[in-house]
Structure formats: C-alpha cells, structure tokens
C-alpha cells in the first residue's frame, strides 16, 4: 500500500495502482442512491477519496501533482469520489479547524456523502457586511444555545448540519466576537422556510433558529475566532466554485452554434444591423471572459498571482445582464410572454432576473469592485466607522 513510506512512489507506480484498483472495483455507472453510497464508502476505505490528506484521516499524503494523477484515472473511467481534498468544502473545513471529537464523528460520513450540509452565514441584516451578524450563541454548560435568523440557505431542509457563524461576544469589535459551529439542523429549534425568489423558484431558504442547541464540541476553531474559520471555509468554497451562473432554463435547444445567433435567426432578425452589433458585443464579452480565465489559469500555473481571477465574477455579472438585455431586444414583443409554450421568452425573462443572482449573490458587484480596487489595484480603503468599536455599539439597520 501507498503508506509504506519506504518504497518511493513514482507517478507510474501510482498510476498503475489506481488503475488496478479501479479495474478491480469499478463496475460502471451508479444507478441508485444505495449503489452510490456503497461506492463512496469503498473509495474512502481504499483511501482514494482524499489522497492529499494525511493517512490519519483516510489520506495518503500525496503531492498535488500525484493526486491529479489519481483524479485523472478516476475521470477516465467516469468514477466519482476522489479529489474531495479539493472539492469537499465541509470535510476540508472540519479537518482544518474541527475538534478531534467532531472529526472522529463526521469526517468519514462527510467523505462518504452520508451527511447533508448547509451554510448558515447570511442574515437579513448582514449581507454585504457579513461580520455584522446578530445571530447569537450563548454558552450553557457543555453546549451553546443559538438564536437568530439566517437566509439564502440552500438545501437547509435536508441538511443534518449547518456551518454556522454566530456572535458569542458582543463587547469586542465585530470581527472578533464571532464563532463558527456545526449546528445540528434536525432539532425543534431550527425551522426551515423556503424563500421564493424573484424568478419564482425557491432554491433557497430562510432558517429561523430559536433556542437551538449546539454541542460545544461542534465549535470549529477557538471561541471568538470564527471569522478566521469562515475565511478558511470561503477560500475552499471559492477554489471549488465554477462560474455558478445558470444559463437559460427553458431547456428548449436553440440549435448549434452561438445561442444568440441562433435565437436571432429563429426570430427572423439576424439581418438587423442593430441586433448584429449587440450580438457582437455580448458574444465578445463572453469570449473575452473566457480568454481572461484562460490567462488567469496560465498565470497560476506559472506561479504568478493573477488579477484576472478576481475580475471573473464582475465580468460574468455584466455578461448575464447584457445577454438578457440582448435576448429581450431580439424577441421584442415576444418577451412579454412566459411559460412552457414560450421558451424563448421564458429564457430571456429568467435570465433578466437570475442575473441578479450573480450581481448580488456572493458579494454584490459594488463589493466586488471594492475588492478589486483594494486588493488588486492597491487603492486605499474607505474609513471604517465600525471597525474598532464593541459590536454592541455598532449602528445596525
């Protein structure tokens, strides 16, 4: 086995080992949830789930390059389950900052996908200003009592635990009084209500927390150090997140090639010079963003940090809003409609509204411009009126 440190592990021997294991164990597409769970357990057991991790936690202490070899072999046969040391937000956060007891309890189930998770960060009063949260966790013996309200929580209804930030100290500046917990969701004090979005969908939830109980061993990091734990978690999240933006939802294909060209052709306006200019603009923006992303990746490979990464979200926001606008322009009166009989209108209108998912969610465009201005261009911050005063005295909505 690979944890025999005496034998130097070559790329080739590793590749052969994975291949052999896959040949022996992988039997093709997973059809049922039970099959999936069984497979995941097998991958974890064989220490392929998190090969970069130490052997203590089901890993092999492989280098990133070697772990990529494992991932490529899994991908080649279409088998899931490896690379979770890159992609499993929950397990990574827990490994980095959790108590031994909590790790012992949850790491393997998390790797096996047996535990549902959700994020309890944002609050109605704390969006851009996440450190302004008012959900409180008060110590009571060997557990905390949690009260407050969270919002924009995906999968809250099915989650077993929520990664929660809550205020545990009101007498220190806002960033310093926050703690980070794995809050058990299946308890009477946690009420999940679907939140209907402007698109009409309900992907998110509000979570009302009333005297919910959280064991003290579910605290990640030190008490009051939750802001730092959160940054760790957010970094994992960012490194995994792709574009995140969704395309048209109608599911009715517009045919091959550039979608806007196909749409304009279908609508009979592809020869309209105005439409053509607008299509060029939007397709151009998309292409430029793809080129920027490719350059960013190349820069990263060369080890130089890249300004381009941070621009991607801002660029995508503009692209989504612009594409929705041009789709509307192409459809004209057709955009008045919606519903399954009018898939093009459905797409244009859905995109119009859903573009805000990107321009508001995960940091508004405005916050994003602050970040680019300050962290990339090195422009000075604004005066921060709430930075160094006890949170109790901070002005809130």
């Amino acid at each position: 086995m690979a944890d025999d440190a005496a034998l130097p592990l070559t790329d080739e021997s590793l590749r052969e080992e994975v291949r052999a294991w896959l040949a022996a164990n992988w039997t093709g597409p997973l059809q049922t949830d039970a099959e999936r769970k069984a497979w995941m357990a097998k991958v974890v057991e064989a220490r392929w789930a998190v090969p970069r991790w130490p052997s203590e936690w089901m890993g092999r202490s492989l280098s990133d390059a070697q772990a990529r070899i494992v991932e490529r072999e899994f991908a080649a046969v279409g088998a899931p389950g490896t690379g979770q040391d890159r992609t499993n937000l929950w397990a990574n956060t827990l490994l980095a900052r959790g108590t031994p007891a909590l790790k012992e309890k949850l790491i393997v189930p998390l790797l096996c996908g047996e535990v549902g998770m959700c994020l309890l960060y944002s609050e109605p009063g704390a969006g851009s200003d996440l450190a302004g949260i008012r959900t409180r966790a008060d110590r009571q013996g060997d557990h905390f009592i949690v009260n407050g309200q969270k919002v924009w929580t995906s999968y809250a209804a099915s989650a077993d635990y929520g990664m929660l930030i809550a205020r545990t100290d009101w007498d220190v500046p806002k960033h310093r009084g926050i703690s980070f917990f794995f809050l058990p969701m299946k308890q009477p004090g946690v009420e999940v209500r679907p939140l209907r979005q402007i698109t009409g969908e309900s992907q998110f939830n509000e979570v009302f927390i009333t005297d919910a109980v959280c064991p003290a061993e579910n605290l990640l990091g030190e008490l009051g150090q939750g802001w730092g734990v959160l940054q760790t978690a957010l970094a994992y999240e960012r490194s995994v997140m792709g574009e995140g933006a969704r395309g048209p939802r109608s599911g009715v294909s517009e045919g091959p090639g550039e979608p806007l060209i196909a749409l304009a052709r279908e609508a009979g306006v592809l020869s309209d010079p105005l439409i053509r200019q607008e299509i060029a603009r939007v397709v151009g923006l998309k292409k430029l963003n793809a080129l920027n992303t490719a350059r960013a990746k190349a820069d990263l490979k060369q080890g130089t940090s890249s300004a381009l990464m941070s621009l991607g979200k801002l660029a995508m926001s503009r692209i989504l809003h612009e594409e929705a606008r041009v789709r509307t322009l192409i459809l004209g009166a057709g955009s008045l409609l919606e519903g399954p009989d009018h898939p093009r209108a459905e797409d244009a209108n859905f995109l119009t509204l859903n573009a805000y998912f990107t321009s508001i969610g995960g940091g508004t465009d405005q916050i994003q411009r602050n970040i680019i201005g300050e962290r990339v261009l090195g422009l000075p911050k604004e005066p921060e009126v709430d930075r160094d005063i006890p949170f109790r005295e901070v002005r809130t909505s």
Partner: protein
Amino acid sequence: MGTLTAQERLAFQDSVRRLLADRGTEADVRRVMETDAGYDPEVWKALAEIGAVGLLIDPEFGGAGAGPLELELVMEEVGAALLCSPLLSSGVLAAGLLQALGDRDASSRLLPAIADGSKIATAALTGSRGTWTPDAVAVRGRADGEAWRLDGQASYVTHGQVADLLLVAADTPEGLAVFEVEPAAGVAVKALPTFDHTLRLAEIAFDGAPARRIASQRPAWEAVEEALDLARVALAGEQAGGGRHVLEFTVDYAKSRIQFGRAIGSYQAIKHMAADLLLESESATSAARHAAAQLAAGAPDAKAAVELAAFACADAFVKICADAIQMHGGIAFTWKHPAHLYLRRARADAQLFGAPSFHRERYVAELEAAHG
C-alpha cells in the same frame, strides 16, 4: 380633445390617488394579479365612477371629455400603484380609436358603456410579430352581404380575455379597416401567460367571425396611430410615475439599511446610482408631460414628442427598476419584495405598442421631416 382647468385636474388626480391608496395597495396588486381576470371589478367600478375610465370620452357619450394632460397625470398614479386594470385597453386604446375613427353611430352605440365601465373594450391591432404596424396585421375582412366576416389571428391583445367588445384592425380588399366584434361564435380567445403578472394579453383567432365595419373619415391606420399615440402617452405617464415611486422607496431603503455601521446610501456606489436615477426619473416625467401637452395642443411636434416619450420613459423605467433591485441587494431578489413586480411592468411597458428602438427610429424620421 378637451382639457380640465388646472384646479379640476388636481382634484381629479387627487381622487384617483386616494382611490389607489385605499384599494390599490401592494397586497391588492398581489391578490388581483393572481386572478384570471387580472382586475378587481369593484375597483373598476370605482374608477368608472370617479370618471377615470371615461376620461377621454366626449361628454356627449358619457365621458369626462378630458384629454392627454389628464390622462398622463392619472397614469402616473396608476404606474406608482401598479394598478391591475383594463384602463389602458378600454378607456384609452378602444375609446381613443372609436373617437379617432369618428363614426358617430358606432360612437353613440359603444362609448357610453365604455365610459361607465359596464363594458370592457379593447383593440386587436397586431399579429404574432407584435410590431403594431399595418404590415403586421394578420386579420382579413371579407364582405358577407351587408355584414362582414373576419378570418385570421390577432395577438398581444391587451385584456382580450376579459373584453366584451373587440375593435379589430383587418385588411380588406378596400384597404385596412377597423371592425367591431363580439367575442362570440367564430372568435377564439386564448389567454397568453405574461411575464408581467399585472398585465393580461390574449391571442385571438377569427374564423369567419361576424363583424361590423366601423366607418372612418380618414385612412383607418391614421386613426389607429392616433389611438396608439394616446396609449403611448398613457404608458409614458405610467412609466414616469412607476419609476418615480420605485426610486422613492429605493432611496428610503438606502437611508435605513445599515451595513458596516453606516447607511448604504452614504456610499458613493449607491448614492451616485441614485443621483443618476433621479435624472432618469425627472427626465421621464418631463418627457411624458411634454408629450401629453403637445398632443393636447395639437402641436406640430406632437408626434416627435410622443416618440421621444415612448423611448425615453420606457428606458428610464426599466433602468430605474433594474438598478433598484441591485441597490436593494438580496432583499429584492425575493418574490415578496415589490421591486421585481415593477421591473416586470417596466419590461412590459417597454414592449407595448413598439419597442424603444422602433420609437428612436421614428423620432429621427420626425426630426428629419421637421427640418427638411
């Protein structure tokens, strides 16, 4: 068309405002927009009683005999409240078209019931292309003895599903004409699902539908254009009023929402967006009122003023609503926040009776014509 005195006008606007404050709340809008009819018959009755439905109709036919100035003011209130009603269809488009055609017999037969709200009328003026230009008409009329029959299809018919009376533009061997049709045999009305839930649109198929031809003193499309221009001024007023209202509640939010220890409206990102939107809002108001004034005065540049208002108010309302959502952040991404209802209305208004680029093109044509 007539015009009220300034005082009468303010009193009238005030009565509309009070009615809407009372019975056109956001909760009312949300309730009514989910009904099939898409309007509240009680409110409709009240609107008729205060004279809003028959606003443009000659007193001879039971209306208030007012004009574009009053219409524009009322519509500013309608826009601010997001009123769900067939006012635009019945009181503006249909009434305007009948009066523009000038068929006394038809007018005296049809206008009184429109004016008192007992009948809802609308106009079917375009086909599936939805361009509100004569070449997009997809209904044909054929003589059948003394009477006429219609075949073909009309689309984007505002409030077609609740109309008791349809005024239909149709091509005939003698040119385009307008017909009076009842939604009965040979008329299949299909409600179209709309992105703006406060609006009702229908697609109407005519299959040998019996029709009565309305006489016209002039080329019928000229009369249609006159009615459409009234509707455009009405929409401009709605857009100006809607935009102003959205900006108001957005600015209020920016004053009260605290992030990082201070109101978000103290940040230049939000403050400067608000300043730009104020310019949009005020410009829309100027454009809508100017178009109404020029139309009321029969000014030589009335057409240019309407075209300008049509694109300027449409773009302003959309921009204000779109930016308002951004300025609110997450809260306005929820269904329960009203911002998206306004954005939906703004997007609808921007398409009805011609998209902004269509009006910009026509505005330039007017400028060319004005100066040779």
